[in-house]
């Protein structure tokens, strides 16, 4: 019989942090964090688009706060959250429905690579206007 370390209930935070994490554990943790963040963003999104019903001036006035460089950068990082949650979500579906348990680690690596490439591609699309202005 293999010996198992007893789970230390009193220091469960520490025990969980010390748990050896493989790609799957990180995917699970990050999927939760990005999911919760996206949910918070969805509420914010509905709130921030609600001035649409007050007409052109009110909406454009409201939107001018969100087109500052700070919010544009935040939008880009939001895309990183969307990307991770989407790609890992597809990975989860493949694991559940397409025998992905046999190749889930490779899937994780591929999704990280695809994600990083798409993150920078989206960065170019989002800031292309500003980039073109810089090199005029």
């Amino acid at each position: 019989m293999a010996e198992f370390k007893k789970f230390d209930q009193k220091n469960w935070v520490k025990t969980n942090l010390n748990y050896r994490k493989d790609s799957g554990s990180w995917a699970w943790i990050l999927h939760r964090i990005t999911g919760l963040a996206l949910m918070a963003y969805l509420f914010m999104h509905i709130y921030s688009l609600s001035p649409l019903s007050q007409g052109r001036e009110a909406f454009n006035e409201f939107m001018s706060h969100y087109t500052t460089p700070f919010f544009m950068a935040m939008e880009w990082f939001l895309f990183a959250f969307v990307l991770f949650h989407s790609l890992n979500g597809v990975r989860i579906v493949l694991v559940d429905w397409a025998d992905g348990a046999r190749y889930h680690k490779a899937l994780y690596r591929y999704s990280i690579v695809i994600g990083v490439v798409m993150f920078f591609a989206m960065g170019y699309v989002m800031f292309s206007h500003e980039i073109h202005k810089l090199f005029k």
Binding site: G35, L52, S53, F79, V90, I92
Partner: protein
């Protein structure tokens, strides 16, 4: 005995539907990002939104998007709570809060979309302007 325990009462519906809605959301999200960031204005100006919303297809798409995203998100949050041993009153409170807040925000989003007026000018004229 598990004689009367069928899969319908075990949460398997929400498990399947979480994956189905997730896949739909990935597809719609790709379209959403292309639409919103095709030009710097396309996602951030009233006129661009107004021009799109003249088409009922865009309205239906956005309404579907809100409802599916809200369901997927709240079901996900509930899934996190389900990982912990909740007492019955805690489970009922959390579930009720999620449903009430979710419904309120969903209705708010639906109202925002339906409040956008239909204008007389054609869509192409608006796009030129």
């Amino acid at each position: 005995m598990y004689k009367h325990q069928n899969s319908r009462s075990s949460g398997s519906f929400s498990w399947v539907f979480q994956r189905v809605t997730g896949l739909i959301l990935v597809v719609v999200m790709i379209g959403h990002y292309i639409l919103m960031h095709y030009t710097p204005e396309s996602g951030h100006s009233y006129d661009a939104v107004l021009a799109r919303m003249q088409s009922n297809w865009y309205r239906v798409l956005d309404l579907t998007f809100i409802v599916l995203a809200m369901y997927h998100g709240l079901n996900g949050v509930w899934g996190i709570f389900r990982d912990y041993k909740l007492k019955q009153w805690q489970a009922i409170t959390i579930m009720s809060l999620l449903i009430i807040v979710g419904l309120a925000f969903t209705l708010w989003g639906i109202k925002t979309i339906l409040d956008i007026p239909y204008v007389q000018t054609s869509t192409s004229e608006l796009l030129v302007k």
